[in-house]
């Protein structure tokens, strides 16, 4: 599986190129046929929306083209270039890798998101990366709701050589997080990754439960948790806005990881999220292995999305 190691950019691109194929085909077909008039711009806007970008952003991006190139004959390549630049410009301020603070023992990372977004898998990948970097890793099995979720994390703990703090199904997740922090601290661990049960953001009671985890940790130390990661599934459409908004409001999300970008989903929703909330985007998941969780690069993402080379 790791023979492609090293060329992560090409891996990211091969993941994304599938996503962008249809988008770029669409763009080419528009622009080889017509010049940049109202109708063309309208269709261009729809194509961006079809990459899960929200309507506002699509209008903004095409609006820029309208101001500068209206009624000109434009080559598809040029348009892709312009779009990629515009998208990269929007994403640049939020492209910030997740950096562990070595002064913190442990750096506490709380991982949140809706059901099935890939929280546990992301934790496993992060644990592997941190272990490979020689760090001591603690995992807290905070998904005490889903059947066998604790077992799932325990297996990852074994595979990555991380210590797993767990209680039974149905246990109080906030109490577990508290215990895990105490143990990780006592052991002088470098990082503590806290898993949580997936929850839909419109379930007030479940969100309150998540808030309790943060509240309990803050009582131990006001700076906790140092990082709150929102895991977003790339196949998610416009609902990602609601997810980002509510999770941010309830638990103060400090960064986003987008998973499952190796499919045909395009993750265009990240662009509007970047503009709207400015939450840092730390990493993208483009495959099954730990190396496939990659730091997010605005330029690479934008250019890949538009089907441009490098």
């Amino acid at each position: 599986m790791s023979e492609e190691r090293g060329g992560w950019l090409s891996r990211l691109k091969s993941g994304l190129s599938r996503s962008s194929q249809r988008l770029t085909e669409g763009i080419s077909s528009i622009f080889t046929r017509r010049k940049l008039d109202d109708e063309t711009l309208g269709e261009l806007e729809e194509l961006l929306i079809a990459a899960d970008m929200s309507i506002g952003i699509a209008e903004e991006v095409t609006g820029k083209l309208r101001r500068t190139r209206f009624n000109q004959e434009v080559a598809p390549e040029e348009i892709r270039q312009a779009l990629a630049e515009e998208v990269a410009r929007l994403l640049e301020p939020v492209a910030k890798p997740l950096v562990l603070n070595p002064a913190l023992k442990p750096h506490v990372i709380l991982v949140v998101g809706v059901n099935g977004s890939g929280k546990t898998t992301t934790i496993a990948k992060l644990a592997r990366q941190y272990r490979d970097a020689g760090k001591t890793v603690f995992l807290a099995a905070g998904d005490t709701f889903r059947a066998a979720a604790v077992e799932q994390l325990k297996i990852w703990g074994e595979r990555t050589g991380s210590t797993v703090i767990a209680r039974g199904q149905g246990a109080d997740a906030a109490g577990l997080a508290f215990d895990a922090y105490q143990e990780a601290k006592a052991a002088g661990a470098d990082v503590l990754l806290i898993d949580t049960a997936g929850r839909l953001q419109n379930k007030t009671d479940l969100m309150a439960e998540l808030q309790k985890i943060v509240r309990v940790l803050k009582k131990v130390e006001a700076a906790l948790p140092h990082t709150v990661l929102l895991v977003l599934d790339a196949t998610t459409g416009q609902n990602a806005h609601s997810q980002a908004e509510i999770f941010r409001q309830i638990v103060g999300v400090t960064g986003i990881v987008m998973t499952k970008l190796d499919g045909t989903a395009r993750g265009g929703v990240l662009v509007s999220l970047a503009e709207k909330y400015g939450i840092p985007i730390h990493a993208v998941g483009v495959g099954e292995t730990a190396e496939d969780l990659r730091p997010f690069s605005a330029d690479a993402f934008a250019r890949s999305l538009m089907g441009l080379e490098k």
């Binding site: 599938r18 729809e46 194509l47 929306i49 079809a50 990459a51 899960d52 929200s54 309507i55 809706v114 059901n115 099935g116 977004s117 890939g118 709701f145 889903r146 059947a147 066998a148 979720a149 077992e151 799932q152 325990k154 297996i155 990852w156 595979r159 199904q169 839909l200 953001q201 419109n202 379930k203 007030t204 009671d205 309150a208 599934d233 790339a234 196949t235 998610t236 459409g237 416009q238 609902n239 990602a240 806005h241 609601s242 499952k260 190796d262 499919g263 045909t264 989903a265 395009r266 929703v269």
Partner: protein, 457 residues
């Protein structure tokens, strides 16, 4: 965040003329709004295009009924066409599970990672055991995700059906063969195969599930998909349908606040019925698909049917009648308020109801501003239960020192109690007004007429 389609269209038509037949320009203007509304609801672009064209054909030349605005007319055409496309009106048989085969009948669950296959498998097993009196065997073929097989075994216990004993290291095809063998020998009616999540473009894993299909010959191959899915829904549905052959769709996480346009995309691409919706984390939260409800949601028109059904399910009829009688006499007291709050909470709380109410988008901001949420309802219940019986019967007794006592008894503050009392007074006042209006008046003024001032913060 979203305006409903009806609001958007009325804005458009306000600028146009009001009556007569719908002209081509009227329709063209409306079509752009419809297109945007559908895209915002995550309906995939190619599906939106076909849909809009079909609506155009139906709409041009339609007479606008006198009492109806052109906007309402177009919305009705769109809604009807949406219900039709989603499979409404189709015979009930097509949305029920097909169990007409020599037992054990095989149901195979397929889909992307994290779409909800395992949970749906358990929910369907429960449904078959209770509703159809079937003997069901749950089988996990997920050898990819750690502890996935254990997860299904735990869920099987919860829904009281058997699961195939796990053999460590066994491959999916071998598990399938063993499951079919056990199914035949031990007289199971249905065997549900829960496959591992896979990407539709992962050739190796797609061939694996195709091989499972060839061995198991499933009567139903259910594609499990998340209601939050965006534009990619078409690609996923098409790939699974072309490669594996889908017989039906299970739409999960319908209890979220996604608009659910993916339902339309997948239905349009596969031409297969949506058979179930997952509506909660509880193991009984599975419902047959309702095209009209999803249509309403996609258009941002709310889900009144679900709300009414939920109300009918949870509201105690006798209590409601008792309350109605009391209202007529004008004797609405704090005990009644308490029982109302309790019923509100039973119906899924404010958050549960908000999603279902039509036109709620307009006042949603106000409600959020007033900080009305389920936590607040609980606090109000605490305040009420910290009062004495006498105080609840006669709120006038509540002087300052009593309020201080109640505040410390309920862990709240005096201002919170004051707010609750104000809300109660407003409600009592509204009730009196409602009585004067009579039943007809109430219908005409709708819910807005009954929103008490306290709810406006």
């Amino acid at each position: 965040m979203f305006d409903s389609l009806s609001n958007r269209l009325s804005d458009v038509f306000d600028r146009l003329r009001r009556h007569g037949a719908l002209s081509e320009t009227d329709v063209a203007t409306a079509l752009r709004e419809i297109r945007i509304a559908l895209l915002e609801a995550d309906v995939a672009l190619p599906v939106v295009k076909d849909f809009v064209n079909a609506v155009k054909e139906k709409a041009v030349g339609q007479d606008v009924v006198r009492s109806v605005s052109p906007a309402q007319m177009v919305v009705k055409i769109v809604h009807d066409h949406l219900v039709e496309t989603l499979g409404g009106g189709a015979d009930a048989a097509s949305s029920a599970l097909n169990l007409n085969a020599v037992p054990p009948v095989v149901i195979m669950m397929i889909g992307l990672q994290g779409s909800g296959k395992t949970t749906s498998a358990a929910k369907i097993a429960r449904h078959l055991r209770l509703r159809e009196r079937k003997k069901v065997l749950l089988v996990s073929l997920d050898v990819q995700r750690p502890a996935a097989q254990e997860q299904l075994a735990v869920l099987a216990k919860q829904v009281e059906v058997e699961s195939l004993p796990i053999v460590a290291g066994e491959r999916p095809i071998a598990i399938t063969k063993r499951a079919l063998d056990v199914g035949r020998r031990e007289g199971y009616d249905v065997v549900i195969l829960d496959t591992a999540g896979r990407l539709h473009i992962d050739e190796a894993l797609m061939s694996e599930v195709a091989a499972v299909r060839d061995v198991a010959q499933p009567t139903e191959s259910l594609l499990v998909a998340d209601a939050m899915t965006g534009q990619d829904a078409v690609n996923v549905a098409k790939a699974f349908n072309d490669r594996i052959g889908v017989t039906g769709i299970v739409l999960t996480r319908v209890d979220g606040d996604a608009r659910g346009g993916a339902a339309l995309s997948m239905r349009a691409v596969t031409q297969k019925p949506i058979k179930f919706m997952g509506v909660g984390e509880k193991i009984d939260a599975l419902e047959p698909f309702h095209a009209d409800r999803i249509a309403g949601r996609i258009l941002g028109m709310g889900d009144v049917v679900s709300l009414v059904e939920k109300a009918a399910e949870t509201v105690d009829r006798e209590e409601a009648e008792k309350l109605a009688l009391k209202l007529q006499k004008g004797g609405f007291d704090l005990d009644d308020l308490a029982s109302q709050l309790k019923q509100l909470r039973k119906m899924g709380g404010m958050s549960g109801m908000m999603g279902m109410l039509p036109g709620i988008a307009k006042i949603k901001k106000q409600i959020e501003g007033a900080n009305i949420n389920d936590g607040m309802i609980k606090r109000q219940e605490a305040i009420l239960s910290s009062m004495t019986k006498q105080e609840r019967k006669n709120p006038k007794l509540l002087n300052a020192s009593r309020r201080v006592r109640i505040a410390s008894g309920s862990g709240t503050s005096v201002p919170e109690i004051n707010r609750l009392l104000k809300q109660y007074q407003d409600m009592a006042h509204m009730m009196k007004k409602a009585n004067k209006l009579g039943k007809k008046g109430l219908m005409r003024h709708g819910l807005a007429g009954l929103m008490p001032g306290g709810f406006r913060g």
